[in-house]
Structures are given as C-alpha cells and as structure tokens.
Amino acid sequence: MAALRVAIEEKRFPAVGAAPEKHVLGRVHFAAAAGETVAITGPSGCGKTTLLNIVAGLDGDFRGHVERPPSGRIGYVFQEPRLLPWRTVADNLRLVLAGSREEQEQRIARILAEVGLADARDVFASRLSLGMARRVAIARAFVIEPELLLLDEPFVSLDTPTARRMRLLLLELLAAHRPTTLFVTHDLREAVTVADRILVLSHPPAEIVADIAVPLSREARSDESAVEEFRLRLGDFARLLEREGTSA
C-alpha cells in the first residue's frame, strides 16, 4: 500500500510586480510505498523545492491532491539547517519532540549518538560548523521517528569528503528508521547512492519524464565506483540535466 500519493495537476506562482506569472509544476503524479526512498531530480528552477513544500503541507495553493501518512509525523531537512541559533543542539531537538521529559532525553541521546554528535549536545547552534549544523538538522528530522521524511538538497555546499560521509550516514539512518522518503537533489550520484527510485522532472512546467529503479545493494551504494558505473548508465539523463541546468 502506498504511504504517500501525490497527484498535482498544476502549480502556478502569481505575478509579483514586474515578475510575470510562473507556471512551475504541470501534471506530477506518483506514489511511494512505505519505507521507500524516492529521489527527485531535475534541472535547477524546475520546482523541486515547491514540490516538497506542497507535499509537506506548507504550500496549499495548488490544483491537485496529496495523501500523506495519517500520523502527520513529517520530518523535513531544509536546504539550510534552519536551527534556532539561540538554543543548544539538545534544545533544538527537544523543540520538535512530544512526550515526557525522560523519553525526550532518551531519544535525543540516541539520535545524537547515531549522527556522531553526542559531544555537541550542549553547544549553542550558533557555534556549529555548517557540516555539524546539517547533521543536527538531519537528527531533528529523524528524532520524531517520521513516517514521511523530506530532504531538500541537504548536502549542498559541503566539501566533497564531508558530503560523502553525510550520504553514507543518511543511508544508515534510512536503513535503521525506514521512513517513506522524498529526497530532492540535482546530483545524480547522490540520488543513486541513496534512493530506491529516481524521478526525473522536466523544465517548468515540470512533469515526470523518467522513473528509474535503482536495484543496487547496500554494499554497492557505499562503493563509489559501483555508484559511478550506475550513474554512467544513466548518461542520457545526466546530459539532459546538465544541458537543461545550464540553460536555466
């Protein structure tokens, strides 16, 4: 049974001042099974973030319908970490947690250990490096045990080795917690490493132009050459993304 069903017919942004009206999304229909990780990729400016905001329920101004998991537990990792700089790492996690204080503390300790930040528990978020702040943002999304996890280019503007470590960390967390996941990225290698399936969006008004299964094992995903080999097999799509990306 599908945990997430998206049936968007149309999304437009109204004209503001001199900027004309933008028809961002066309017909975008897809479903994701419980525990499935779906990557969404496409040229820049094709409405990937808009799609996530609609799925998250942040943007209700569209034509169509979205069926989310009934619990309403949605974890969202934004492009920027969006932490409260005036609160500590632990307090940032506590902000999104329900339940008794004791239970909250247990969950915070567990997730911080998982992302390797147990020592940073009482550090103000304003003092974290970008890489650490990103990990806290990921911890915040996982600490609520989300049924639906949304990730919007969570590794953008990290250096290559850090980004690779983060991809592998995400892979581990996904395997351990199994949320239904939408993962927006413009990087095919990232998509191949993490996702069970890759949806490719076209230029706006965006529609799904390809739905590619990624039948790689856990081991193959943490092996860079295997990921690269699979990515090369998707060469046509890679070229499409690059061409459209540069023209955007």
Partner: protein
C-alpha cells in the same frame, strides 16, 4: 601610529591586554565624569552666587541632609513606583500592539496613522487631559505616562515583528511545534533585541515624564519636590533630588537591564 619593533605592545587577548582593556573601559568614563564635576565647580566659582549656582560639595551635603531626614528616600520611592508601574504597562501594551501591527497587514494599515498621531502628541497635552478627564489621582498619572510611551514601544516592536524569520516559522509548522513552545523558543528570542532597545529608551523617557506628571498634579515624588524648590529658587535642593534620581535610574540600567541583555545574548559568538 607606527611602533618601534621591540617596544612593548600588549596584544588584545593576552591577560595583560585584557586587564589593560578593562582598565581603559573603567578609567575613561570615570575621568569624563570627574571632568564634568570640575567644570561645574569652575562655573560655580565663576558665578560666585552659591544660591543660584551651588558648588558640587554643597549639593552633596544637601543630598546627605535630605537622606538623613528620610524625605529623599520617601520621594524617590514614590517616584520609582510610578516609573515601574507605567513602564510595565507601557511595555506590555506596546509589545502586544507592535507585534499585531508587524504581523497583520490590515492592523498596520489601520493602526499606523493612530500611531503617528500619538507619537506626535506632546506629553504635556496627554498629562493635562488625563488630569482633567480622570481627576488628580494616581491612575491619571500612570495612565498619562504609559500613553506617552506606548507608541515608541509599538514602533520598535513592529520592526521586530516584521523581521521575524519566515524560514523558522515554516520549520516550526512542518514539525507541528505547539504554539506556546513556538512563541517561547522561536518568536520571543527573535524579538528580544527589540524589547531590550524599547526597554532601555523607555526607562530613560518614562522617568522624565513621571517628574512632569508629579510637578503638575501629585502631592509627592521627586517632581513635586522640585516644583516646591522652584518656588524658593532652591537650586541645591533641585540638583540634589535630580542627581539622586539619575543615580537610581543608572543603577537599574547597570544592575538589571544590562545583565538581562547579556544573558539573552549569550548564544552570540
């Protein structure tokens, strides 16, 4: 300024540098205040008219005498209560109005002109009208002071409410953060610098208006005392009470407002 190599230059960050910096931070204001006292002494000496221009020592002696008789503390206390009461009311109402105007476009469009009107209304007018309409009572005094300050607080907080980060609001929404928690952890910390600015300018403005209110229609307080001394051209008395109250307000600033501000700003690098 060029320095010869080998000359001892204390670097910031070293222990010696830190204590030197601290020394400078204290020494310059103290020197500056001493210069002011010296200037006063000089003017008193030039005027050679101790009744109209008493020297610092005379004013200090007067302050001690008023303190011994108990009059100084009783009037200071009453004025302080009025300051605190109108300060609390003005901050609470002004913050609420400011947030409303900053967040709700219609409220801003409708309430904006009112704000401009009250900002430009002379304090004297609100004081006199309050006494006429409400009577020569405590309520009228505190009401008049609060009405004078509320528009300033509202304008400052309106800016703060406009500057609230929508990205954090979205985050709180997606994660279903309950609204009391959202207010406490997400919204109020963003408004804190604006509240601090309003509090600081508020304290400075309010105590001055309170003195006028007391002068016009209360039977006690520092303002009332100054009005009495005015009738006898008692400049030493006027200065004694004025300086005593400046000291009280400055103590509140150092002892309360600044520590609170430092605590709130702890997370900044």
């Amino acid at each position: 300024m060029a320095r010869a190599i080998g000359e001892t230059a204390t670097l910031p960050g070293t222990a010696a540098g830190a204590s030197q910096q601290l020394g400078r931070a204290v020494a310059i204001p103290v020197l500056s205040l001493l210069a002011l006292v010296a200037l006063w002494q000089l003017l008193a000496w030039l005027a050679a008219e101790p009744r109209l221009m008493p020297p610092p020592a005379a004013v200090f002696a007067r302050m001690v005498a008023e303190a011994r008789s108990g009059a100084l503390f009783s009037h200071l206390g009453i004025t302080l209560v009025r300051v605190v009461a109108s300060f609390v009311i003005a901050m609470a109402v002004g913050i609420a109005i400011g947030i409303l105007l900053g967040r709700v476009r219609f409220a801003d469009a409708f309430g904006g002109p009112w704000l401009v009107f009250f900002l430009n209304l002379p304090a004297l007018v609100t004081i006199v009208l309050s006494y006429i309409w409400i009577g020569l009572v405590e309520t009228a005094a505190i009401f008049a002071v609060a009405i004078n300050k509320i528009p300033n607080v509202a304008v400052t907080l309106r800016e703060g409410a406009r500057a609230l980060d929508p990205a954090l609001a979205e985050m709180a929404r997606v994660f279903n953060v309950p609204w009391p928690r959202r207010l406490r952890h997400v919204v109020l910390p963003q408004l804190a610098p604006y509240v601090a600015a309003a509090a600081r300018s508020g304290l400075a403005l309010i105590w001055k208006i309170v003195l006028v209110v007391e002068l016009l229609g209360r039977p006690n307080g520092v303002g009332f005392q100054i009005a009495t001394f005015f009738q006898f051209f008692d400049v030493a008395g006027i200065l004694a009470y004025a300086l005593a109250f400046v000291a009280v307000v400055q103590t509140i600033e150092w002892g309360l407002l600044q520590p609170v501000e430092r605590r709130i700003a702890r997370w900044r690098r």
